[in-house]
């Protein structure tokens, strides 16, 4: 009798193997990678169905969709990696409309030669972030590009969610007199990434703040359904987010430097790198804008949530036809907080 096992497939060597062109070719190697890695990690009924798309019932109401590509370098950094970041980033984009995120789709662009052990670590991190958030990855895609044409791995995630009745949160809803609230300290993610860059590496205890904020948003919306704006200050930091909202809402902003929460370690790192924490990226913080009357209950709801414990009012929306964001400096003067020019940190999310 022959020793051939007709159904036997040799398992993928996740310890020593590397991504090669066959993993994206649509053949057996790709099917095997999907089965042994993605399906196993994300395991859910939609993926198990084995279709190219995921089918689900749609709840009544308004839906939101958001997509985000992740190209961070380095792939692993203190406090997280590209995997959990790609889940949190899109969940947060969905949540900033006040929505409860429902499902995620994920696309991987892998570079030939990328170690499968690293890929496995990244996918495991994604799966655990998605499980912790209660937002499953229900469909996906994998492509492989030749060596030198990618940078290890790029991940694009798309999320959909549903907006609760009566909630109307958008970037053009800020009104003069509104309070501006930040959910916690600024610049942690950017500095954590910076500390790992090859030509810069320095030792720091700072970890990325990467986190899914939909739980915090749900608590905020429950307390104050009339929140005017929500946005996560990722690339370009708080300064960019405030400028975006000022432009969309056709108003100005005035913030107080002494209210801005910045960890001393982040402040120190920014000081010697010549960065301004106002422009450094965050991945687990949000800016909320609400009427002055709603500010106190909103702040209380935020501080009652673990991800909003350090929430603080940092300023007000003002009338300004030029849509400037201004800041009263701790020093006693006033200045512009302008859009970011060029880039402070390359490839941070």
């Amino acid at each position: 009798m022959s020793g051939v096992l007709p159904d036997y497939v040799r398992p993928v060597d996740f310890k020593h193997g590397r991504v090669d062109m066959t993993h994206g070719s649509g053949g057996r190697a790709m099917a095997q990678l999907i089965d042994e890695l993605f399906l196993r990690a994300f395991d859910n009924e939609w993926l198990r169905a084995g279709n190219d798309s995921a089918r689900f019932a749609v709840p009544a109401g308004r839906m939101v969709i958001a997509t985000d590509s992740h190209v961070v370098s380095p792939l692993f950094f203190p406090g997280g990696d590209i995997g959990c970041l790609s889940v949190h980033g899109t969940i947060n984009d969905v949540a900033m409309s006040g929505a409860a995120p429902l499902y995620l789709a994920a696309t991987f662009v892998l570079e030939e030669g990328f170690p499968l052990s690293d890929l496995k670590r990244i996918v495991a991190s994604m799966a655990s972030a998605s499980r912790a958030a209660g937002v499953p990855v229900v469909t996906g895609d994998t492509k492989v590009v030749e060596q030198g044409k990618g940078d290890g791995v790029f991940i694009t995630t798309t999320g959909i969610g549903i907006v609760p009745e009566g909630v109307d949160i958008a970037g053009d809803h800020a009104r003069p007199g509104d309070a501006i609230i930040i959910s916690g300290t600024l610049g942690d993610h950017g500095v954590a990434i910076m500390s790992q860059r090859e030509n810069l590496s320095f030792e720091t205890a700072i970890e990325s703040d990467t986190a899914a904020l939909h739980g915090l948003v749900a608590a905020m919306v429950a307390a104050v359904p009339r929140i005017h704006c929500l946005r996560d200050p990722t690339r370009g930091g708080l300064a960019t987010t405030l400028n975006e909202i000022a432009r969309q809402s056709r108003c100005g902003m005035l913030v107080r430097e002494r209210e801005l929460p910045v960890k001393p370690q982040v402040s120190a790192a920014c000081e010697f790198l010549g960065l301004d924490p106002l422009y450094v990226a965050n991945e687990g913080k949000l800016v909320a804008i609400a009427s002055a009357g709603d500010a106190a209950p909103l702040l209380a709801a935020m501080r009652a949530h673990p991800l909003g414990r350090e929430a603080v009012i940092i300023g007000e929306v003002i009338e300004d036809p030029h849509h400037f964001v201004q800041m009263d400096t701790s020093f006693g003067g006033r200045r512009n907080v302008d859009w970011l020019t060029g880039e402070q940190l390359p490839r941070i999310c």
Binding site: P321, F331, G332, N336, T341
Partner: protein, 382 residues
């Protein structure tokens, strides 16, 4: 943050502001030039001008290393970067400086040149060691602060026989620029630029010491106060200058005693003397050709001199006609006097070099102060 917050204390700032307001004579105007871009940046970033009386006016000086680099020098760097296989390394600020033909190092990089941003000359050396098969050039710019690290890179390359490494030297000298401004017709004859005193460089002075400024104080009868880059340093220096002017003194005083001595850093100075010598003349943006105002690499280290190695010929290129960077760098004009400021010329699309670096007078005003150029907007009570 210790050792930093102390120099940004709002309460102390108010006390200093009160002292300045008290001691500044209402009968006159004080025209003070902050030489360094670091001071320009501090003035704008902390909104310091709001704390000064109207008759204390700050004039931005040429002490921004990126701003004074003429177009021809950037063109040479781009030409170097275009050589097949060559890696050009440079400080990040030079990347966006406009060159000829609408180019910049950033745009040249996008077109395929291998240009890498480094944080120090040591990174440039490391890249050379890691790429033995390729030529690596360090595009060195800056005043006396960045010169010693370049000297270290050259001596290390020489000791390690790192034959694929060289330096395109564009280091310039602060005292020469100050002398040039004081000698300019606007200051000396026409009196169009009233210049009563200088806030002297912070980091530059840690290297060269306070002694080199004594000549200016004496010869041109202008007080110099060397100051740190923190906002309280600048306030204190302004107060010290006002006191000198009120008392009719013209001396070199040192506010930055925590870092600057009269003699400076002897080790750094001897390293610089070992590697570099005076250039007969160097073109500055805004100031034109200034004799003995820059350094070049000594014959002894010629093997590491990119200008010799690649036969670079300097070719001067005129600035954009509409650009007022030259006049702004000499203190003759303010950024808002320039027609293209904030319209054609913005930090995203700089026409002139002063709009590039955060230390440039135009970029600092655009980024931090331009809301003051429009009518004050009523604040709505929260």
């Amino acid at each position: 943050m210790r050792y930093i917050d102390e120099f940004r204390d709002g309460a102390l700032a108010r006390r200093l502001a009160a002292a300045i307001a008290r001691e500044a004579s209402p009968a006159r105007t004080y025209h003070l030039m902050e030489f360094c871009g670091g001071h320009t940046h501090a003035l704008s970033r902390y909104g310091l001008k709001d704390l000064l009386p109207a008759n204390v006016q700050m004039i931005h000086g040429p002490g921004c290393p990126v701003c004074v680099l003429p177009i021809g020098r950037i063109d040479s760097a781009i030409a170097l970067a275009a050589r097949p296989g060559l890696i050009l390394t440079t400080y990040a600020d030079t990347m966006r400086v406009p060159a000829s033909k609408g180019l910049s190092l950033l745009k040249a990089k996008a077109r395929g040149a291998d240009i890498r941003m480094v944080y120090s000359s040591a990174d440039a050396l490391r890249i050379a060691r890691e790429n033995p098969g390729r030529e690596v050039v360090f595009f060195a710019i800056g005043f006396e602060t960045t010169t010693p690290p370049t000297a270290v890179a050259i001596t290390e390359a020489s000791a390690g026989q790192l034959s694929n490494f060289s330096v395109f030297c564009n280091h310039v000298l602060t005292p020469a620029a100050i002398a040039n401004i004081l000698e300019s017709p606007e200051v000396r004859e026409l009196g169009t630029v009233p210049l009563d005193g200088f806030i002297g460089p912070a980091h530059v002075s840690t290297v060269i010491g306070s002694q080199p400024y004594e000549y200016f104080a004496e010869e041109y009868q202008r007080p110099v106060v060397i100051a740190g880059f923190e906002p309280l340093d600048v306030m204190q220096a302004i107060l010290m200058l006002i006191r000198q002017l009120n008392e009719g003194r013209a001396e070199v005083e040192n506010e930055f005693t925590r870092a600057v001595t009269r003699e400076g850093n002897a080790k750094a100075k001897s390293l610089v003397a070992e590697v570099f010598e005076l250039r007969r003349s160097f073109e500055w943006r805004g100031l034109g050709e200034v004799p003995y105002s820059a350094l070049c690499i000594k014959e002894k280290y010629r093997a590491f001199d990119a200008e010799a190695r690649y036969g670079l010929e300097y070719c001067a290129v005129a600035d954009n006609k509409a650009c007022e960077c030259g006049a702004i760098l000499r203190g003759v004009k303010k950024p808002t006097d320039c027609k293209v400021f904030g319209t054609v010329c913005t930090p995203e699309n700089p026409i002139g070099s002063c709009m590039v670096s955060s230390e440039g007078a135009c970029a600092a005003h655009y980024t931090y102060g331009r809301f003051k150029d429009v009518p004050v907007v009523a604040r709505v009570a929260a």
